[in-house]
């Protein structure tokens, strides 16, 4: 049985058809030896997505394969990185199911197009960031407020190649959640040091990132 309903498949085909102007690759880096139900379901989901458009492909590798994580700029395993020739770091540590499924779909559409839904002043403001920034957005799959924060972080990455942005499933990466004292989501960690909580308009989100860099 398909993980994506027939109605949603039809909708996604249309959306990908309209938006995927260039090739997009979904790179799934999984834990070695771990053919858990979690991993199998993730692969099945990504296969279903990749079958919906000729410009969308899937690559499955192990996190330990020949320095793969370092090359991709990843620090946690498993991850799904959405890649294309477009600059931008759209990444998911854990599976973007539940409310986060929309973040994955929007990320695919963004990487396959030149879409950027940030207001102009936020784009300009983001380009003032000259140093490398790593944004991790901790979420739970049942949090309706979280996709907004994930999407804003990913959009900032598209606006400025110095910004890396990843969703982190707080339940899957429990030890990390404890380390960063995550007790409410979305919880945003900047460069593994500073943090703030909540979904907010892009301008305010950018200001918080800049504050964290001071």
């Amino acid at each position: 049985m398909s993980l994506i309903s027939e109605e949603d498949r039809k909708y996604l085909k249309e959306e990908f058809g309209k938006n995927l102007k260039r090739e997009v690759n979904l790179l799934y880096l999984k834990r070695e030896k771990n053919e858990s139900e979690y991993s199998k379901q993730t692969i099945k989901l990504l296969e279903e997505l990749a079958s919906l458009n000729d410009n969308l492909s899937l690559t499955v590798e192990n996190c330990g394969d020949s320095d793969r994580m370092r090359i991709e700029g990843l620090t946690l395993c498993p991850s799904i990185k959405v890649k294309s020739e477009r600059n931008g770091f759209i990444n998911f540590y854990g599976v973007p199911a539940g409310h986060e499924f929309v973040s994955l779909i929007e990320g695919i559409k963004d990487m396959g197009s030149d879409n950027l839904s940030l207001p102009e002043d936020v784009v300009k403001g983001s380009q003032e960031i000259k140093e490398p920034v790593d944004i991790k957005v901790f979420i739970t799959l049942s949090c309706p407020y979280c996709p907004g924060a994930v999407r804003t972080a990913h959009q900032l990455s598209l606006a400025n190649k110095n910004v890396k942005a990843s969703m982190v499933d707080a339940n899957y990466f429990q030890e990390l959640s404890i380390k960063y004292e995550v007790s409410s989501v979305p919880h945003i960690i900047v460069n593994d040091k500073k943090s703030f909580v909540g979904n907010m308009p892009p301008k305010m989100f950018l200001d918080k990132i800049k504050e964290a860099l001071e």
Partner: protein
């Protein structure tokens, strides 16, 4: 794992609508359905996800037609699909400014600017803060306002829920699947939840209800580790050792956008007449944000229908 899509848009090139609805909860989307069926070009602005606060409710049991209950997320999604079917455009953009002193009305969002000939405000309410020491400091460091979002972080922990109304009791029942023990703290000498919920509360062995108590402070080091409560009958103060506190002690209207431009009641809710007209011609209010005697999904849907119909009549009148 669930993989289903709630369709929303934020790539709209259209910048003027006949009707703009602020908020996509039951009131906003019911209004959108009525306006859509009246062939009125309608935009619905939503900052989180279609369905509004409803999507946070695990199971809704008092909405007619769903005797076995329906997940809030599912109901929100059904509302959104229904509104879109009749032509409403749902835009996931937060409205950050409204100008109501001239027509067309101007709407500033997190992504751009729009205008409209009529507006329906369906912005709902937010949880009321307690205003006690430590609340700001430990918000998001143990204090939470969203059980569905944050419950997993309190697996096996002692927690408290502030408020024993419908929301407090319903969320406590949900949280009891995760927490080791829950103490509900209620200011009144009884729970104001529906009797059917109170019965379930009595049967729940992990939940205690402490009535006639109020919270006087939150404390901890980096994270919350205790809540100070006061017995309002004898003034005695004691400490609850808890890692989490979920606050459901009343609600305040989300009126920031219009508080200086519309008539409000003494608690800040928008004053409307029976046709849901506000003090500004062409602006209507529906659902929890207005001065209504009952804040429920069913009443919000009814409000949405009236507001949608009245906005249509208003627009017809000016054509």
């Amino acid at each position: 794992m669930d993989f289903s899509i709630i369709k929303t848009g934020n790539d709209s090139k259209k910048k003027h609508y006949s009707a703009a609805i602020i908020g996509s909860g039951p009131a906003g989307l019911a209004a959108a359905i009525y306006l859509g069926r009246s062939k009125v070009e309608t935009a619905v602005f939503e900052k989180v996800v279609p369905g509004g606060y409803v999507v946070n409710v695990e199971k809704i049991e008092n909405y007619p037609g769903f005797a076995e209950g329906i997940a809030g997320e599912k109901l929100g999604s059904l509302y959104a699909k229904h509104a879109e079917k009749f032509g409403a455009k749902i835009l996931t953009e937060e409205v950050i400014g409204l100008k109501l002193n001239d027509k067309p009305f101007l709407i500033e969002t997190s992504s751009g600017a729009y205008s409209s000939d009529s507006i329906i405000l369906a912005t709902g309410t937010s949880t009321k803060k307690l205003g006690v020491p430590g609340e700001e400091e430990f918000t998001h460091k143990g204090i939470s306002f969203c059980a569905t979002c944050d419950a997993p972080f309190f697996e096996g922990e002692n927690i408290t829920v502030i408020g024993a109304g419908n929301s407090g009791v319903q969320e406590s029942l949900y949280l009891s699947r995760f927490a080791k023990h829950i103490t509900i703290v209620e200011l009144l000498d009884h729970s104001t939840a529906e009797p059917i919920l109170v019965d379930r509360l009595k049967e729940a062995d992990k939940i205690d209800l402490l009535v006639s108590h109020c919270v006087v402070g939150f404390s901890g080091e980096k994270m919350l580790n205790s809540v100070e409560i006061k017995n309002i009958t004898n003034g005695e103060i004691k400490k609850l050792e808890v890692k989490g506190a979920f606050i459901y002690a009343g609600e305040v209207p989300n009126n920031e956008l219009i508080k200086d431009s519309l008539e409000l009641d003494d608690r800040g809710f928008i004053v409307t007449d029976e046709r849901l007209r506000t003090s500004v011609n062409g602006v209507f209010a529906a659902g929890d944000v207005r001065n209504t005697p009952l804040r429920q999904i069913a009443t919000s849907v009814g409000d949405g229908a009236i507001a949608g119909h009245e906005a249509y009549k208003f627009l017809e009148g000016i054509k």
